[in-house]
């Protein structure tokens, strides 16, 4: 039987009193690759931030379990140590801390073992080469002066070095040219094993081409409105999101907040 990795049930959550996730259900098993599609503002990034434990967001009800543990009990760094990794849509710039230094500190924190410096540097160098990052970037300050594409590659570098159980990829492919998407996509493919899982948000299906997708979820207005296999991606590419809504909703016209014909009760 498949081992449950992430189990989200009837999750309500938001920011500063505004509800964004409105009863979201999602489960994924160990080793799977899931994709979340949805229009802008539907709550995709909020979901990622909530799984990672961003202090700005608040869970109001429902449950969020990772390997059976209640994530609400864990602080962000404890979630990371439990095996969750978030690839940021806009990675932070941190002056004065080099990529290598940061990664070594992080690796030590998540693996609880002593890092052998030469082995670590060797691995870092190899990974950077695979991601076509110049070796001198190891000594540069974290994301400072990096182009958009370099920042995203740096996220994948961290993913590969820290080797978590679950990678949350929040539009890791956005703003990248074709070649960069290829590199990032190959990095994600390398990460994905029978033990390692991915939850991917994307608007660009090219990043998915090399991956075997187990499940696709469509998120609209804070709820999963449709689930299916990889074929759902093609369907949405052709027809857009609106056709997934029930006829009632379509009849009501576009929602002011969501700018689509969503089933939003606020309407």
């Amino acid at each position: 039987m498949a081992e449950k990795l992430l189990d989200i049930s009837n999750l309500h959550a938001g920011v500063e009193g505004k509800e964004i996730l409105k009863g979201l259900d999602l489960t994924m098993n160990k080793g799977e690759v899931h994709v979340i599609l949805g229009p802008n503002g539907s709550g995709k990034s909020t979901l990622m931030n909530i799984i990672m434990g961003h202090p700005k967001y608040e869970i109001t009800s429902g449950s969020l379990l990772f390997e059976g543990r209640d994530l609400a009990e864990l602080k962000t760094f404890e979630r990371a140590r439990a095996g969750i990794f978030l690839s940021f849509q806009t990675p932070e710039e941190i002056p004065g801390i080099t990529v290598e230094n940061m990664l070594r500190t992080a690796k030590k924190a998540v693996s609880d073992e002593n890092i052998k410096i030469f082995a670590f540097q060797k691995k870092l160098k190899a990974m950077m080469q695979e991601l076509k990052m110049k070796p001198e970037y190891a000594q540069r300050y974290m994301n400072v002066g990096f182009s958009g594409g370099e920042k995203k590659r740096n996220e994948i570098l961290q993913l590969l070095m820290l080797d978590p159980k679950l990678a949350l990829l929040d539009e890791t492919d956005s703003g990248l040219d074709v070649d960069a998407v290829q590199i990032v996509s190959a990095g994600v493919k390398k990460f994905h094993t029978a033990e390692n899982s991915c939850l991917i948000i994307t608007h660009n299906t090219r990043i998915l081409e090399q991956l075997a997708i187990d499940k696709v979820h469509v998120l609209m207005d804070g709820k999963i409105v449709e689930e299916g296999g990889a074929e759902l991606i093609d369907e949405i590419n052709k027809k857009g999101f609106t056709h997934l809504l029930d006829t009632d909703a379509r009849g009501r016209g576009n929602c002011e907040t969501c700018e689509i014909a969503c089933p939003c009760p606020a309407k």
């Binding site: 990672m52 434990g53 961003h54 202090p55 700005k56 602080k75 962000t76 760094f77 979630r79 990371a80 140590r81 990794f85 978030l86 940021f88 990675p91 932070e92 941190i94 002056p95 004065g96 801390i97 940061m102 500190t105 992080a106 924190a109 998540v110 300050y141 961290q158 820290l162």
Partner: protein, 468 residues
Amino acid sequence: MEKKKTFVEDIERTLYDIKNEDYAVYKTQQGLTEKIIRDISREKHDPEWMLAFRLKALDVYNHTPMPTWGPDLSELNMDEIVTYVKPKGTMTGNWKEVPTEIKETFDRLGIPAAEKTSLAGVGAQYDSEVVYHSIKEDLVKQGVVYTDMESALIEHEDLVKEYFMKLVPPKDHKFVALHGAVWSGGSFVYVPEGVHVDIPLQSYFRLNSPGAGQFEHTLIILEKNSSLHFIEGCSAPKYNVTNLHAGCVELYVKEGARLRYSTIENWSRNMMNLNTKRALVEKDGIIEWVSGSFGSHISMLYPCSILHGEHARCEFTGVTFAARGQHLDTGATVIHAAPYTSSNISTRSISKDGGIVVYRGAVKVTPNAHHVKSSVNCESLMLDDESRSDTLPVMDIMGDEVDIGHEAKIGRISDEAIFYLMSRGISEDEAKAMIVRGFVEPIAKELPLEYAVEMNNLVNIELEGTMG
């Protein structure tokens, strides 16, 4: 539940706070009168011209108002400051001859140990007089002079007469006038043409006597195409009365010469640090300032570089750290007085527990100076809501074809950056400490090694475990 908090430590002060008994053999009365100036001059066996200079400076002092534009100096009562304190013993080149209690102080501060390992020469001043000076023999053979100002006044009187307070004249402001009247101690360095002093020289200034002032004068002359790294360290134990430091530093960097002047100022928190430093840089010369301001109650310190010859250059790197009860008003001034001169100013300040830091700086370009380049970058980090930070840059540009850049950032530790590091498994405390360390890193790497270590220790993590 375990309660944890991140804590950026104050500078560890225990070492500096050890007071010695006041064994001074001679002290002037408190306050400032012509009689006191004459007494100091007699005690120091000044030549006649120096006494005349002192008296003239006293006159300027009496006719100059207190500055009103910076921090509040009303706590300073000159009638209560003892301007001259002569320690036991006489200046010596032999460490063994330094009086025991003074020797112990400098031993604790690691001065003689540093001399053995990483310095080419050492000077140590205790209260108003230099008690020890030494320099490596091979430098003496090359004509390098490194001695206390009093000895320089006797042995190199012509040089002192030519340069002393010519760059910083007493009429500049009230506290240089005071300095001119009561100066005592300090270091004199002369590097002949073409000589490179590869290992740093370090002078350490220690003020032990309560309610006293320290007015050391540092005069450095670098002849053409020579180079030097000079390190200045300052500290004092804490007393309940106000102490005053009004030193003066004059640096002459001749054609093609290069001077690095590093200062770590760690005065106690009852100190008014009203210090004046200025460099005159000739054609192709380079002045590099590295300035760490960690101590004192109030500081007003704006090292000035006058770029007087074409292609002269100034690099200024400064870090200021203010905790409770500290108001540190620091910055840099650069005067571009010749074409093709360039300057680069980079500072970081941290304030916590209600400390106040102000960056106050000026870049001036005279009408004859063209093709000037200047870049100013000041960043401040406030660690809590009580603390304050301000940036007051002045740009006065009279020349043409000038490329000036200014960037100032004042901020708090970013929650998003903390979240980012935490999402990589790094604890909240460590994330904050990393961000603070990263903030000062570009400056820390410029500091002399032993000071860089101290600076890194500054950002420590304290874990407080409580039950319940």
